[in-house]
Amino acid sequence: MMVRRLNAALEEVLREDPRVVILGEDIADPYGGAFKVTRGLSSAVPERVLTTPVSEGAIVGLAAGLAMSGYRPIVEVMFADFLTLAFDQVVNHITKYPAMYDRKVTCPVIIRSPSGGHRGYGPTHSQSPEKHFLGVPNLLVVASSPYHDPLVTYRALLRRDDPVLFVEHKLLYAEPVVAPEDGRIGEALGREESSTGYLPTVGISWVPPEDCTVTVVAYGYSALLAARVLERLAIDEEIFGELLVPAQIAPMDLAPIEASLSRTQSLLTIEEGVTGWSWGTEIAQQMARRQFGRLRRPIDVLASASAVIPSSRELEQRVLVGAPEMRSRIREAAR
């Protein structure tokens, strides 16, 4: 289960790297964090797992000071909705220090934060606000993924010096993590592709990629939903798509998308964040520029409605991207 894998990954990096310090609200035992990702850590390494007051701006700022002093802070922001309270630190401090001081310092802060809806938490505890962080110069935005081993991801991030925002969709916590093995993910074909400097992208398909007629790009929980939809479409309707799931959503490794698109000639992007000015529109722009003459149809971008996320489960479903829209849009894009 994702929550246990994340928990184990954090414990592993805490133990193997004495520079790692974990900070966040309510993260200490016995509570162990609002989503239990940090359960047991404060008991295992008490001096480097610090539960903090409710002060997102300050704790992310503290992490900046730690990072510039040679530590590797990992900060939990309890809900991604609260990331706005630390936005100044990310935009005007953490991502600027190394560049504006001409590389005299590094500021490798990792901020991890549970994101996303589908649980009826309502307007301020359900958002996927990572879109507001995409394109911040020098910031890596990473999304937890059902197809990426979190320990591998954390080790890769700790080898680099970039500031990182790591969003963890809440609905993935209870899902298994299955990385590709011997060319397969369960019943599907699965493989990792990566370009230098990027975390790998996982490609999944139910027939060989050459036989797919649409490329679907999605991350986080949307990737899991898209995989389920694509599997049904393959079995029930013989519609075959190739799903690409990046862990690193900004800056994007565009090479796997371009390679897939050159085969399928059709692209659909899916994200849970609100529509417009989004992750998908950026990919669409990049791919339109690179593949314009070879596209079979316009690139399609699927995102949630530009609206607050209602608490009512029924109303929430009308706002957030879900399996039914994915199904119809993939069908359309696969033609």
């Binding site: 992490a63 530590y71 310092v105």
Partner: protein
């Protein structure tokens, strides 16, 4: 390749890195960044009488700032700059108490702090002139400086938690260092300050907050900016505060010494609130304070107070040495390639 793949430290050990902090302790003698030579005409020789050294360093900062404003008039500089004319005693009095392994986080008005810590006039001037020989290669400019044990940023508030984080690193690594944050009265409007004061006190971080209260946040007088009492706000977090209404560098140094010693002994934050006055504009040509008020404050300016402790001969000698050294810095900086 990702653009991120190019972001690699060039073998630089972060200023307050865990090991760098375990260094022996001595009265602060500036070791300028990147091996730049520190000019004793600007910073004084180790054997110089303390009153002379304090005056010399303030004179250095004053004349640097005045020359800088002159270069602006000449059109040689771009953007803006925030001079600290009138506040030199804070820079020199407090920073002289710090030692290698300590850290200073400054703000938009950072030239005096930087010069008092590093003595690096050429690196700073080249930086403000946008030249590649500048301390941050011309990228940071006036408000964004970095040297061993020193950083500044031009956004108010957010530097304070970073300074507290550096203090936390010092505490975790048991380095014995002190992290100092220079803020002004304007920063008391920023919420993250209070979040940080709470954590710094709660976790007993070796943090020194120096408040340079010059009475104006840009153009707005403190009476229109601040409810209640600045000292009481700090004390409300259980932080020991010393409050001085002074432009006397000796007085500031003596009070600062008590706080620095207390922090080193107890590993708990302290604050020094210094009521001072900015004798120049906020940035450039944006001063609408009453002329009479400014004229009165010139009667208490810090160099005058300290000069009274020196003989005329010594004062004139120091003035001359500082002037000659700054002339050379300006000429060298002018001749540097872009």
């Amino acid at each position: 390749m990702s653009e991120h793949s190019t972001i690699r430290p060039s073998g630089f050990v972060p200023a307050a890195s865990v090991n760098a902090l375990r260094r022996p302790v001595a009265h602060h003698e500036p070791a300028s960044s990147e091996g730049r030579r520190v000019d004793p005409r600007l910073m004084g020789r180790p054997d110089e009488a303390k009153d002379e050294r304090l005056y010399r360093r303030m004179r250095f900062i004053r004349r640097f700032e005045e020359r800088l404003l002159g270069l602006f008039e000449e059109g040689l500089l771009n953007g803006t700059t925030h001079a600290c004319i009138g506040q030199e005693a804070d820079c020199v009095g407090v920073i002289g108490l710090l030692r290698p392994g300590d850290h200073i986080f400054s703000n938009h008005r950072c030239h005096g702090h930087y010069l008092a810590w590093t003595g690096d006039a050429l690196g700073l001037l080249a930086e403000i002139m946008g030249k590649s020989a500048g301390v941050c290669s011309g990228i940071g400019g006036s408000q964004h400086l970095c040297a061993e044990g020193f950083k500044s940023n031009g956004v108010l508030g957010g530097t304070v938690p970073a300074a507290a984080g550096i203090a936390l690193a010092m505490k975790l690594s048991k380095s014995g260092g002190i992290s100092t944050a220079f803020i002004g009265d304007g920063t008391f409007g920023e919420g993250v300050l209070y979040e940080t004061l709470n954590i710094a006190s709660l976790w007993r971080l070796p943090l020194l907050i120096v408040v340079e209260n010059n009475g104006y946040a840009q153009s707005t007088p403190i009476a229109s900016n601040l409810a209640g009492d600045m000292t009481a706000r700090l004390e409300a977090f259980g932080i020991g505060v010393s409050h001085l209404d002074s432009t006397d560098v000796r007085e500031i140094e003596a009070e600062g010494m008590k706080l620095v010693s207390a922090i080193r002994e107890s590993s708990a934050p302290r604050a020094l609130v210094i009521d001072t006055y900015r004798l120049c504009h906020h940035s450039k040509s944006d001063d609408n304070r009453p002329e009479k008020e400014i004229a009165e404050r010139w009667q208490q300016e810090p160099l005058g107070i300290q000069a009274a402790r020196l003989s005329d001969t010594d004062r004139l000698r120091i003035d001359h040495e500082v002037e000659t050294a700054i002339d050379e810095v300006v000429e060298t900086a002018r001749a540097l390639p872009a």
